[in-house]
């Protein structure tokens, strides 16, 4: 059992968002974009956090549209989560039995679902922000009667225990015998055979006595201190003793600590003396040990932990971070991860990524879903279209949800529109279908994502952290455009622009489609030759309008980059560059032959030229117009 969908309204920086969650979902976004708000919303809905005095909800948790808004008049926070069976019979019988009162059934697929809505709004009656938990029926109305009993909530929580590992994972807290959520319970659960226990205690007692006798001064000290009991004495005589070693089994166990060494020759050191990276990592593995050994005992058969994990990469070396994905995704249960590390993201499947961004509408999340849904009433003929679509369309009649797996093609769209024929809500339904088609046009299929995975592994980590993308053809363009921008006082790194050299990373059209789907502002500069025009056409084929294409895609007027550089009157500088790159005879070249020679020495000249342009604003201002236009556009691009 895991959470498959999360919908949040009016919570902190979130006005409204709906996201799907997978086994491991990775949230990427700048600081303060709202990632922690998402994790907290989940934790609130799945724990008692709102129900408890003092630790609960505050007025600061309610999203406010502006400074003057009053949280008491807000419609309040709503956090709705769903757990769907991923396949028929996924949930073991005891889970279905125990949660029988709150389970809903998808009559078409037979799969079971639970939906829980948590709300919190100001109550005039109690003068406080009052939380309400309610399970929902298939139409998302609150369930009543038996299903609304509080005991169902407690049970549901037991099957989805939430654990939180924040970015600041402190070993001394997490391995504390008193306060740790895992270590303390692990130690407490240890079963020492009573015979061994009593034997150990006898030995310790003996040891204690011998130690005390080892130095006579100890007895003197003890005598002096026992004065305290005499002063505070009541009728009966008290006593005082000294303890050199633990004399109770819990005292003994609670001193258990982890020691380790990285190499055979190094000394054993306690965990808290290790580097920060090891410390942080060990906490994650502690969680795993806890789940493996204790979860079933403390919760139910069939309980699956939900781990909210912030920045697993903390303090780790990039090489270690790269392998971390495998460990994290292999942890038991469902994982919700936030990260700031491109190295971590490099291995995350595209569909599991969520880009979090703060917009004027509050926190928003973008992703690359495999399907799109819309609320459409049960129109006449809809069933027939759905049935005839194979698995492409599905319809859930209770919630009136139409789901399309992929981009809604024109003929299916037309057929759906035709169903609205005589329905009274025609205009509204048409609008929803239009919107569905629009959204689903952002679909990127598995094959394309797989190709991207193969070709673009090097950059796929970093591009998700950029705010804008500039798509160019190759390495030369990459170097040059960085240099020009720097010289023109718009450093691309500083302004979070990712330059994507498409040739080395697969298909430029894929990046354009990706940018659109993820709502990343983008521009492209291509050569004016056949190849470049072909790339532009490929982008056009992804359904971008002519207007948009004209605005976003520049090409060099004179042909390819080299021709353009020559045409831009940079011949003397280019000759110098070639000579400096170890091609002395280039000093005599001009025109087409210079361009040809440049083409043959792309890597050599590009680095040299870029280094010079970077230092020379004047030269940058004579660089190809297409680049300069793009850089100018990037300044205001959102």
């Amino acid at each position: 059992m895991r959470i498959t969908r999360l919908e949040i309204s009016n919570f902190r920086s979130i006005r409204h968002m709906a996201i799907d969650l997978s086994d491991t979902t990775v949230f990427v976004g700048p600081n303060n974009a709202g990632k922690t708000a998402i994790l907290d919303a989940l934790r609130i809905a799945l724990t008692r956090r709102w129900g408890q005095r003092g630790t609960g909800f505050s007025e600061y948790d309610i999203h406010l549209p502006d400074d003057t808004a009053d949280p008491k008049t807000s419609s309040g926070v709503s956090i709705e989560l769903r757990s769907d069976e991923s396949e028929l019979g996924e949930w073991p019988d005891p889970v279905a039995e125990d949660l029988g009162d709150i389970i809903q059934i998808d009559l078409a697929t037979g799969r079971r679902t639970i939906a829980l809505r948590t709300r919190c709004a100001w109550s005039e009656d109690t003068g406080a922000f009052e939380p309400i938990w309610e399970f929902l029926d298939a139409k998302r109305d609150p369930l009543a009667g038996r299903s609304a009993r509080r005991v169902n909530l407690e049970r549901f929580w037991r099957y989805l225990p939430v654990f939180y590992l924040g970015a600041l994972r402190d070993v001394s807290d997490e391995f504390s015998p008193r306060s740790s959520q895992f270590w303390r319970r692990l130690l407490r659960a240890l079963e020492i055979p009573s015979e061994l226990e009593s034997r150990a205690l006898r030995v310790l007692d003996l040891l204690n006595r011998r130690l005390l006798k080892a130095d006579p001064r100890l007895e003197v000290i003890a005598n002096t201190l026992s004065g305290a009991t005499r002063i505070a004495a009541r009728d009966r005589e008290g006593g005082l003793a000294m303890r050199m070693v633990p004399l109770k089994s819990w005292d003994l166990l609670s001193r258990a600590e982890i020691i380790l060494r990285n190499e055979p020759d190094l000394p054993w050191l306690p965990l808290r003396r290790q580097g920060q990276g090891i410390q942080s990592l060990s906490v994650i593995f502690l969680f795993q040990a806890f789940v493996d050994h204790l979860l079933r005992e403390l919760y139910e058969t069939g309980s699956k932990p939900l781990l909210a994990l912030e920045e697993p990469e903390t303090h780790l070396h990039p090489q270690a971070v790269r392998t971390l994905w495998r460990h994290v995704s292999g942890l038991p249960g469902q994982k919700i991860v936030t990260t700031h590390s491109p190295f971590f993201v490099q291995h995350v499947p595209f569909r599991d990524l969520r880009l979090v961004r703060l917009t004027p509408n509050g926190t928003e999340v973008r992703s690359l879903p495999a399907s799109y849904s819309a609320s459409i009433p049960a129109l006449d003929g809809l069933d027939r279209i759905v049935a005839g679509s194979g698995e492409f369309l599905t319809y859930e009649s209770a919630s009136e949800t139409l789901t399309v797996r992929g981009a809604l093609d024109k003929s299916t769209y037309r057929a759906l529109l035709a169903c609205c024929g005589r329905d009274g809500r025609r205009t509204e339904v048409e609008q929803r279908l239009r919107d569905l088609r629009q959204r689903s046009s952002l679909y990127i299929d598995d094959g394309e994502l797989q190709a991207l995975d193969t070709h673009a592994r090097r950059i796929r980590g970093e591009i998700f952290f950029a705010e804008r993308w500039l798509i160019v053809e190759g390495q030369t363009d990459y170097l040059l455009v960085h240099a020009i921008a720097h010289a023109l006082d718009y450093d691309l790194d500083q302004h979070s622009v990712s330059v994507i050299d498409a040739q080395n990373n697969g298909d430029p059209a894929t990046f354009a489609a990706l940018a659109r789907a993820l709502d990343v502002p983008w521009l492209a500069v291509f050569d004016g030759d056949d190849a470049g025009k072909g790339m532009k056409r490929a982008i056009a084929n992804r359904g971008f309008s002519d207007e948009e294409l004209k605005e976003r895609c520049q090409t060099h007027a004179a042909g390819d980059l080299e021709a353009q550089l020559v045409a831009d009157g940079l011949e003397p500088e280019l000759r110098d560059v070639l000579v400096a790159s170890g091609i002395p005879d280039a000093s005599q070249l001009a025109g087409d032959s210079l361009a040809d020679r440049l083409r043959k020495n792309k890597t050599a000249y590009a680095a040299e030229l870029a280094a010079r342009v970077r230092q020379d604003a004047d030269m940058a201002r004579r660089a190809p117009q297409a680049f300069r236009t793009a850089i100018e556009q990037l300044r205001g691009l959102v």
Partner: protein, 646 residues
């Protein structure tokens, strides 16, 4: 030390224990009267839970009445404290309502649906439905409710109704079309009001279980199903069970006694027991020992029931468990009187002369309600308090009917039909002239609810106490100054001040019983949930202490008494006129015979049978059942005596 469950199990007979501990597959327990079937059922539920403390599955037990469910629940709680949460014990209708609350959305039913259990409510729905369709409708359409009910009871949907009727002989196409149309309008109207009648509860749940995934879910959650009084299950209920069980479910535990089937008129059937055995591959266990009745009564019952030719011949006759602890002659007596008036007077004086402490253990049973009424009068003349045990679909006092209408109105502020009831019931205990149309117009104009307008109008009317105080409470409620629970409490307080209104006293006592029953069953309930439960339950009062019980034979089902009087044992009353006409071998007459069987087997100590030569001036013959039980007519004394032969 043995637990309560262990010691209770220990007290069971070997055969009872075998049933209780039945491991795999379905089981039919044929349980005669007094054979401890309730004990077997409760022990089985308790034992299933006790054996699986770490499991999560639930046990579903379906009973025939809320009373039986309530009783069984509390016994299970006693036997397995802490585990009772996993036992879901309720009536068929209650269970269906629960299913529909959770999953009804698939059929367009919202969880806060109202339940219409009264015929008058359903009739009003039909009239509204027809009126919506056509302002000038033929009067006979109004009389179609029984036919609509019959269709629903047979699980015939609106789409199939016309064809279904047309296929039956004696129904014209035109007639079928007319009924089908009224049926569809009626159903639409119910849906519009978000209401379900009794038949809908079963039918709609049946529709839901038509989806295999839904049935599977209930098979998983409820690993064991127990059915009490299976012999009285009607066709719709049985089909519901079958669908819920799907193809493979075989964990049904049914307790039945075909000799006690007295609901064939309502669709029950003695043949259904054999259908169950076949459909669910049931093994059969018989519990023939009668722990309740003295030997002479067991013997009389055995003699009686073998006259039913349709009876399953393999079924064992009952064996008495009791040693004759009372003198043989005192076990059964028969009294003969000249007239019906003499009969009730004679029986009344006999009861009056009994030890007063015995009265609450005494019942008078009759085939008809009319006989009970004259019995009550006769007892009243002897100053013996008596209560007629009968299902009450509604409260009898206008005050309580008004209060319920108020609660419904709060729950469904736009319900016009209920508003009319509210206005009418109020004016019948506190005269106030008020035009309903006027009220509704005002509500529309002012944009406030009907109830607020009513409270307003009632406050300005010239009312006397306690109506004034009651109206004030309603005003507080509509103004939002008071919660329903505290308003109810206030109003009940005001109503209790009237000491002389017998109907109101009955209702107040019923209300108290019901609210505590509902609290036990579902805990603190929301208003809509409370109203649903209220609608499903009978509103009869708690019998007064020391009162003699009066009951029809149907009303006595499942009960037992120390001293039982069965009156009116003549041809054309028991057996009924209708069954006598059908003849001795008829199903109807056999059902009457089973009725008599049920009546006499309520007895724990003494049974007194009586008859008169004349009822309402018509001469009558003694019931053939007297002869069948072994009484012979002694002409010289005109009385019947127990036979000596064995």
């Amino acid at each position: 030390m043995a637990t309560i469950l262990e010691s209770t199990l220990h007290e069971l007979s070997a055969i009872q224990r075998r049933a209780v501990e039945w491991e795999d597959g379905s089981l039919l327990v044929l349980a005669g009267p007094g054979s401890g079937k309730t004990r077997v059922l409760t022990c089985r539920v308790a034992q299933l839970l006790d054996r699986s403390p770490d499991e999560r599955f639930r046990v579903l037990a379906l009973t025939f009445t809320n009373k039986a469910a309530h009783e069984m629940s509390s016994r299970v709680t006693t036997l397995t404290p802490g585990l009772e949460e996993r036992a879901d014990i309720q009536t068929f209708h209650g269970f269906c309502a629960q299913v529909l609350r959770q999953h009804g959305v698939h059929l367009g039913i919202r969880p806060d649906f109202a339940i219409y259990s009264r015929r008058t409510d359903c009739q009003a729905v039909l009239e509204d439905a027809l009126g919506r369709d056509r302002p000038h409708l033929p009067g006979e359409d109004r009389r179609l409710l029984p036919r609509i009910n019959a269709l629903k009871a047979r699980l015939v949907g609106t789409d199939d109704a016309e064809q279904w009727m047309a296929n039956r002989s004696g129904v014209s196409r035109q007639d079928a079309g007319r009924v089908a149309r009224a049926y569809r309008l009626y159903e639409d109207e119910l849906r519009r009001a978000n209401a379900l009648d009794y038949n809908s509860l079963i039918f709609e749940a049946y529709k839901l279980f038509g989806f295999p995934a839904m049935a599977r879910h209930y098979q998983t959650v409820y690993r064991h199903w127990l059915i009490d009084e299976f012999q009285d299950t009607n066709g719709a209920q049985y089909e519901l069970l079958r669908r819920m069980a799907g193809q493979g479910y075989r964990q049904v535990f049914a307790v039945a006694d075909d000799d006690q089937t007295i609901y064939e008129w309502n669709g029950a059937s003695v043949r259904r027991i054999s259908t169950l055995v076949k459909d669910f591959d049931c093994e059969v266990v018989q519990l023939p020992t009668n722990y309740r009745c003295p030997p002479r009564i067991v013997e009389a019952a055995n003699r009686l029931v073998v006259y039913n030719v349709r009876r399953d011949k393999s079924k064992q006759l009952a064996e008495p468990a009791q040693q004759s602890h009372s003198i043989e002659d005192r076990q059964i007596r028969c009294r003969m009187f000249a007239t019906d008036q003499d009969e009730v007077a004679g029986i009344a004086s006999e009861i009056a002369s009994q030890d007063i402490a015995d009265r609450r253990h005494t019942v008078v049973l009759a085939r008809t309600r009319a006989l009970l009424e004259s019995m009550r009068q006769a007892l009243e003349e002897e100053s013996v308090p008596a209560t007629i045990l009968t299902r009450r679909d509604d409260f009898v006092s206008p005050q309580m009917r008004w209060l319920v209408a108020c609660l419904k109105q709060i729950n469904r502020p736009l319900d016009r039909r209920n508003m009319v009831t509210l206005v009418e019931t109020f004016s019948s205990f506190s005269p106030m002239s008020l035009d309903v149309d006027d009220l509704m117009a005002r509500s529309a104009a002012e944009g406030v609810t009907f109830l607020s307008v009513w409270a307003d109008m009632a406050q300005s009317a010239d009312l006397s106490s306690p109506a004034t105080e009651i109206v004030a409470s309603i005003s507080g409620l509509t103004a939002g100054e008071m919660k329903p629970a505290s308003a109810i409490k206030q109003i009940l307080g005001h109503l209790r001040s009237d000491e002389f209104d017998e109907d109101l006293k009955d209702d107040l006592s019923a209300w108290q019983r019901l609210s505590s029953e509902i609290r036990t069953a579902i805990g603190r309930a929301s208003l809509d949930r409370f109203l649903q439960e209220l609608e499903l339950r009978s509103k009869e009062p708690v019998p007064a202490p020391g009162a003699v019980s009066l009951a029809t034979i149907h009303g006595a089902k499942g009960l037992e008494f120390d001293i039982v009087y069965v009156i009116g044992l003549v041809e054309e009353i028991l057996p009924s006129w209708h069954s006598v006409k059908k003849g001795d071998g008829s199903a109807a007459l056999e059902e009457e015979r089973r009725g008599c069987f049920v009546a006499i087997t309520r007895t724990k100590q003494r049974l007194i049978l009586s008859w008169a030569r004349q009822y309402r001036g018509w001469g009558k013959q003694p019931s053939r059942f007297l002869g069948e039980m072994g009484f012979t007519n002694d002409d010289s004394r005109g009385a019947l005596r127990g036979a000596h032969s064995r």
